[in-house]
């Protein structure tokens, strides 16, 4: 019991140091700023994916769809309707919630592989829509969007602030009675009914929250790249969320964040070193998942606990 207060302070220090480092990133140059900004957004999307996966027990294989919904909504609102940043962003959040509600409604009655396949199918379906529909720019997507404040450095702080705020909200949810109901459904959906929970509703709630924050990440990413293309909704992008989460550890709240950073940096290094970079990360990631079945962060916390 003694170690408990110690552990909290260790975590608090780690988080404080992390935030300070993140705040200093723009000093390390444009490349690093861009890399960390992308890593933050991937991490946010993976963390929201993990609300559904690690906390609620549903493996979505189409979560990049919501990234795309957030991104396309923002891009369309700005380029086609001439809305400002804030209004477009709010619309992106709303649309992510609406898509989450409708698609979630159709998916949550199924579980396991059926749920995974359904979400995968929806993801691919909307990828198809984005490729074919001229209004969304077809296979080129929408590009040439202006970046807020015109500088990468200032926009980086927007991303940092919104990502940290989103992570904070998601964390609070996992530490609430709602989060507990997610975990109860994950552990034992059968018994959950017998404590009065409407299992489908609990799953749908998790699905919608998860979609919203994936949409937030997607919307912010559009302005980082100043463009969006259909590939952001492709299943390989959804698989990245899954991978990053397994990498960091699905049973630890910050697991996907750690996984997101490892993945982003690994990809960056490998990409500049060799044209076979995909193979390199593939091998490294398979090794990590094999040897750290609870993810890197999960493994680290277990190791600390044992000492």
């Amino acid at each position: 019991m003694q170690s408990e207060s110690e552990e909290v302070s260790f975590e608090q220090i780690a988080i404080a140091v992390g935030i300070i480092l993140l705040a200093l990133v723009p000093l390390a140059g444009r490349h690093m700023t861009h890399l960390v900004a992308s890593a933050l957004l991937l991490s946010l999307a993976a963390t929201s994916f993990n609300l559904l996966f690690g906390y609620t027990g549903l493996l979505s294989f189409g979560h990049a769809l919501f990234w795309g919904v957030g991104g396309y909504t923002l891009a369309v609102m700005m380029s086609r309707f001439g809305l400002g940043y804030v209004e477009s962003f709010v619309m992106a959040v709303i649309m992510s919630a609406v898509f989450g509600a409708v698609i979630g409604f159709l998916c949550v009655r199924h579980t396991r592989i059926y749920f995974a396949i359904l979400t995968l199918a929806f993801g691919q379906m909307f990828y198809g829509v984005a490729v074919k529909w001229d209004f969304l720019g077809g296979s080129d997507g929408i590009y040439g969007l202006p970046r807020p404040f015109n500088t990468l450095e200032l926009y980086y702080y927007v991303i940092l602030a919104i990502t940290l705020a989103s992570l904070f909200i998601l964390y609070k949810i996992t530490r609430s009675s709602l989060g507990l109901s997610f975990m109860a459904v994950r552990d034992n959906a059968f018994r959950a009914k017998f404590i009065g929970l409407d299992v489908s509703r609990v799953r749908l709630t998790s699905f919608i929250i998860s979609s919203i924050f994936s949409g937030v990440a997607g919307a912010l990413y559009v302005l980082l790249e100043t463009a969006i293309s259909p590939e952001t909704m492709l299943w390989t992008h959804s698989a990245e969320f899954v991978f990053v989460t397994l990498l960091g550890g699905p049973r630890v709240f910050l697991g996907p964040l750690v996984g997101g950073f490892i993945y982003s940096f690994l990809a960056d290094v490998a990409m500049s070193a060799t044209e076979y970079w995909l193979l390199v990360i593939g091998v490294v990631l398979v090794a990590i998942v094999l040897f750290f079945p609870h993810g890197v962060l999960g493994y680290f916390l277990k190791w600390r606990e044992k000492r």
Binding site: L180, M183, N188, F194, I195, L197
Partner: protein
């Protein structure tokens, strides 16, 4: 007043007549035990009452209201809770959280702004755990509990739902003598102090005779005998089934 009543309930699985025209009732404040040999249909009857499966025909009434065909989660909010023959709990939550989720669910306080360490709910959960001798194990997960404690936790979860009627499916199965004692105490307390009506499925006849106001004997899906412990003990039909 009848807290729980079944009228002519029927459920066949193919040609297995699991529950074959069962009419029983449990008065408010009573402990009624349901006994019978393996395969008599006891668990199936509980499954029909608690909404897990739907009857082929017949009705179920809870406090006079027809609840036939209602889903388990609807029935919980109407005051019907149950536990399971094979202990059925939330494996990766702590013992305390197992109760907290039930308490928040029944109080309608499932919300993203309701903190997990909300003192009112925690206090209530700890009070219940104390009554089940589980308070010192509040921060363990069910995996770390003995078999007996897992069964007790299962009952504690059902009890934390504030039920009017509770269905217990073999709560003392495979328990040690000491654990059985605790459980018997808990069952009596349910009736005597907490005013919960109990329908108990139980194989251990010592437990049954000790706690029951009335006993229902089932055999091959049908009611063989109903009465006070003394009456049932003397019933020749019952002796035949149990001895022959």
């Amino acid at each position: 007043m009848k807290a729980l009543e079944t009228r002519n309930l029927r459920k066949y699985f193919g040609n297995v007549r699991a529950v074959d025209g069962v009419s029983i009732h449990v008065d408010q404040g009573e402990i009624v035990s349901l006994v019978g040999p393996n395969g008599a249909g006891k668990t199936t009857l509980l499954n029909l009452i608690s909404g897990l499966i739907k009857p082929d025909s017949g009705e179920v009434y809870l406090m006079g209201e027809d609840i036939t065909g209602k889903s388990p989660n609807q029935l919980v909010s109407k005051g019907l809770a149950r536990c399971f023959q094979i202990s059925n709990v939330f494996e990766d939550l702590t013992v305390l959280e197992n109760l907290l989720v039930a308490i928040h669910s029944i109080s309608g306080t499932i919300s993203m702004t309701k903190r997990l360490d909300d003192s009112e709910a925690v206090e209530k959960a700890m009070k219940i755990l104390k009554e089940f001798n589980l308070d010192v194990k509040a921060h363990l997960t069910p995996k770390e509990l003995s078999h007996g404690d897992r069964k007790l936790l299962d009952v504690a979860i059902a009890y934390s739902l504030n039920p009017k009627v509770i269905l217990l499916d073999e709560p003392t199965a495979a328990m040690s003598y000491r654990e059985k004692k605790t459980t018997v105490g808990v069952i009596k307390k349910l009736r005597d102090q907490l005013r919960v009506t109990v329908l108990l499925v139980e194989h251990d006849l010592d437990v049954v005779y000790e706690v029951s106001d009335r006993i229902v004997v089932m055999h091959q899906g049908q009611i063989l005998s109903v009465g006070t412990p003394e009456e049932v003990r003397e019933d020749p039909k019952v002796k035949e089934v149990y001895l022959g």
